[in-house]
């Protein structure tokens, strides 16, 4: 039974949601693209798990990385994962609102902190990889 019992018994016209609703407005389309990116984020997580499964076998590990299919997947996934990251970083100030007295902390600072973290982690990873290659 519906929770809401409309008080108006009069005839009314219900307009159905069109199937292509997400094509009717650019912002809806961009939203659906952001939703679609989760497929590639999930796909990349799966790829990482496959690498972890081969961690004791250097040849199989390298073979998976060099496989043409994995290259194609990476090229395809990169723009989607970048779009995922950037769009979610940019909306963090909506969920994380910090007040300093009566003033809101500038949303640009909150979103920017994500980018700083992203750069720091990326540089650290490259640095570790660099050292690992050097010692190999």
């Amino acid at each position: 039974m519906p929770r809401h019992q409309p008080a108006t018994p009069a005839k009314q016209h219900i307009r159905p949601m069109p199937v292509g609703w997400w094509l009717k407005r650019t912002s809806y389309f961009l939203f659906m693209m952001r939703e679609l990116t989760c497929v590639f984020v999930g796909g990349y997580a799966l790829f990482l798990l496959m690498l972890v499964a081969r961690i004791g076998e250097p040849d199989a590990f390298a073979a998976l990385l060099e496989h043409p299919g994995s290259l194609v997947f990476h090229v395809l996934a990169l723009p989607f994962v970048l779009y995922h990251t950037i769009t979610w970083f940019n909306v963090t100030p909506k969920a994380l609102v910090i007040y300093r007295g009566e003033e809101k902390v500038n949303p640009v600072i909150i979103a920017g902190a994500n980018y700083v973290g992203w750069i720091v982690v990326s540089v650290a990873l490259i640095w570790i990889a660099w050292i690992a290659i050097g010692s190999a």
């Binding site: 519906p2 929770r3 809401h4 409309p6 008080a7 108006t8 009069a10 005839k11 009314q12 016209h13 219900i14 307009r15 949601m17 609703w21 997400w22 009717k24 407005r25 912002s27 809806y28 939203f31 939703e35 909306v91 909506k94 969920a95 994380l96 609102v97 007040y99 007295g101 009566e102 003033e103 809101k104």
Partner: protein, 262 residues
């Protein structure tokens, strides 16, 4: 184009208006009207011109015509707008399509059924419930400017429902409590004088509450009062998540049982 030229010119605007007359036909239709173009007219002025001069059967809601009452929300060229705030000159010379707010049932012409919305406002208890009743002699409930700043933005809502007409999550699932009612619930939860967030929790934290929101963000964009319901809902999601972890990880962190409803 200077205003003095256009008021004396014979410029006209074509208006395509959604008509639904349940007694005459089961199906809605679009009706075309031609109205004079005036530099200082808004869409609501054009609708009133139609009703006064061309076709008295056209029905629509309006009241203050100054962006305060929230009655005249309609779809203008597919965009949820306050028609008192939408100038003809921004559309001229293109035709203007006026339809009732999306996703709501239509009762007649441009008039939607807003019963569901009013029910939802009641369900989330969108009013101040003080933590403890005080005698009048004890004076007012005091609040600092910093405490006011926490919720002030969400208190600007005029219940115009443009955010619902912009929300595909509401379009797909009309049981969704929706942007405005959730933002108002959050407004009272964040008010230092209010003590009823536990009473609101069951409804707000339910599937039909904040978790139906997929964060499209359109509610914030179309809001004529910059309420940003999307932000209110995401902040409530953060609160709900913290609440969950507290109740699972900290033995004494369990949310109190809702008090007797008042």
């Amino acid at each position: 184009m200077a205003a003095s030229n256009t008021t004396t010119s014979n410029a006209v605007v074509t208006m395509d208006v959604f008509r639904y007359e349940p007694d005459a036909s089961e199906l809605p239709r679009m009706q075309r009207y031609t109205v004079p173009f005036r530099e200082d007219w808004v869409v609501l002025d054009a609708l009133n011109h139609i009703k006064d001069e061309i076709d008295g059967t056209l029905s629509f809601r309006w009241s203050c015509r100054m962006g305060v009452c929230g009655s005249c929300g309609m779809m203008v060229n597919g965009e949820p707008r306050l028609t008192c705030n939408s100038f003809l000159r921004d559309y001229y010379p293109n035709p203007i399509r006026v339809e009732p707010l999306s996703y709501f049932p239509v009762i007649r012409d441009l008039i939607i059924n807003l019963d569901h919305f009013l029910d939802k406002l009641e369900e989330v208890k969108a009013w101040l419930i003080p933590a403890e009743d005080r005698e009048l002699s004890e004076g007012e409930y005091r609040q600092s400017p910093a405490q006011l700043a926490q919720y002030k933005q969400f208190s600007m809502c005029i219940n115009c429902m443009l955010c619902y007409a912009a929300c595909p999550a509401y379009g797909h699932h009309s049981e969704f409590i929706g942007p405005a009612a959730l933002a108002l619930a959050q407004r009272y939860n964040m008010d230092s004088r209010d003590g009823a967030s536990d009473e609101r929790a069951d409804v707000i934290f339910s599937e039909e509450g904040i978790w139906d929101c997929t964060f499209v963000g359109e509610c914030a964009r179309v809001c004529p009062k910059n309420v940003d319901p999307a932000s209110a809902i995401q902040q409530a999601k953060v609160e709900a998540t913290k609440d969950f972890f507290k109740s699972v990880l900290v033995p004494w962190g369990k949310r109190q049982q809702p008090a007797e409803s008042r």
